[in-house]
Symmetry: C2
Subunit: 257 residues, 2 copies
DNA sequence: CGCCTTCTTGAAGGATCTCAAGAAGGGTGG
DNA sequence: CCACCCTTCTTGAGATCCTTCAAGAAGGCG
């Protein structure tokens, strides 16, 4: 099962180049990162809190959650990671895990050694910058999540989450119906949104009744416009429509008009 | 008012070297970053949402908030920045602001050109890594904030925030009483915690009555042990007691035992 | 077919919000 | 030094959102 890397890394590379300009050699360096794939079943922790990690985890298939918990054991998922994401890219510079990682569905993970990433980043400064930038997009998502949990009610929270997921999967915006895989159980959805499973259930039913979204059998069919309005969703923070940044060393502007 | 840099940058450098090993030249590069200082009064926005920034903002004095808001205008502060922090270090690689920055008290800000930071980072890869690492600590704080807002009640939220602030200021842990400047109004505290000013007021009164913390006249005096328990606080995520990481290029481990 | 997970429903309780108004505090000008 | 104003803090009471507890229905898998 070692080294099915290429097609998996391709998807991550696409993500990177969406926001950063890379030369052909730099792209090759990404595709050559290597690593070995592993499968985890739903609810399996594959990075534990406080653990010192030596690999970075690229999600190949399935959904992954970054989570923490409070003293009473109530869980909170602080980030969702979709296929193509490296769930803990930050561990390259900070290997002591401050959050755990868990498979939220059956998931395939490509584990890439830190040493490979560090070597590539040391050789190509532009690549290092691209990786850093990618981490900052994740941070922007965390910040939005705080707004979501802090200042939106249950209906808006779930709507917002669905909208964000659709955009990150590349499935939105497209007016009208959108269908995509969404394997989270209502209990997991509760851990994401900071709600109770019971309340998540009732809120989902309301969204269904109002024709905004239907979370069923792993798929969501939504009325994009209405859902985005209901979730108070504005995709700017995801930085998907930004012109890719070019790396120019020695103090020149990051990119030019 | 241009170029009072040195002592201000010294504090930021101290933060950096707490988590990363830097050579003397690299330290000098940080101290030579330059920039110009500006004063802002409380509630003044000095970075607006969506703005394209050319400077990084080092907090010299006062408190600064990173904030977003929902559609109905309800504000949510997603991060607090204390003297010595660069509030938007991430803007070096992602200059389009995804959050606004606002002074939460009278604040002095040293504005350092991106070009200066990029130039230093390009010259010293170890410094680039240190900056990246610093950004990741900020991200870990964001993740904890989500847990705070999502899974802790009002009393625990405020307790946790006070504990975190004390540790970041270097004032804790110290058993028994701790005193430090905490200039936020109850309304601002509400924006941080995702609560209402009214409820913040009642919760603070309860903490005061129980002898845990007293937020008054800009200072907090607390019973550290009890407050940390009440806030479900564990400082690990702040990475303050971690052995500093050394930059070893070309794929060697980040640091060795 | 049967088991285990996930979803659904009801009813009561609690945490937090909303609205409203008054008290205290800090700064400024006369 | 007092008077005034504006911000911040405090208090009360009713409404709401969400939780808790409990139990039954539906769905997937061996």
């Amino acid at each position: 099962m070692a080294h099915s890397g290429r097609p998996d890394l391709q998807r991550f590379l696409k993500r990177l180049t969406q926001r950063s300009v890379l030369t052909p050699e730099e792209k090759h360096a990404v595709l050559d990162l290597g690593g070995h794939a592993e499968q985890f079943r739903s609810n399996k922790d594959f990075v534990r809190l406080g653990e010192r990690t030596e690999f970075v985890n690229l999600v190949v298939a399935g959904y992954v959650g970054r989570f923490d918990q409070n003293a009473r054991g109530a869980r909170q998922i602080t980030a969702l990671h979709l296929p193509g994401d490296i769930a803990d890219l930050h561990s390259v510079v900070q290997p002591e895990a401050t959050s755990a990682l868990q498979a939220l569905s059956t998931a395939t993970i490509l584990r890439i050694p830190h040493s490979a990433v560090r070597s590539a980043a040391a050789t190509y400064p532009a690549l290092a910058e691209a990786l850093w930038r990618d981490c900052m997009v994740d941070a922007a998502i965390l910040a939005q999540w705080i707004v979501n949990v802090g200042r939106r009610d249950a209906r808006a929270r779930i709507s917002h989450l669905l909208c964000e997921t659709a955009v990150r999967l590349g499935a939105a915006p497209a007016d009208g119906q959108i269908t995509f895989t969404f394997p989270l159980t209502q209990a997991q959805l509760a851990d994401v949104t900071g709600l109770t499973p019971v309340h998540v259930n009732r809120t989902i039913q309301a969204l269904r009744k109002d024709g905004l979204a239907d979370i069923k059998r792993n798929t969501v069919i939504s009325d994009w416009r209405a859902l985005a309005r209901s979730g108070d969703f504005n995709a700017d923070y995801l930085q998907t429509h930004v012109k890719p940044h070019k790396h120019l060393p020695f103090g020149q502007a990051a990119d030019l008009p």
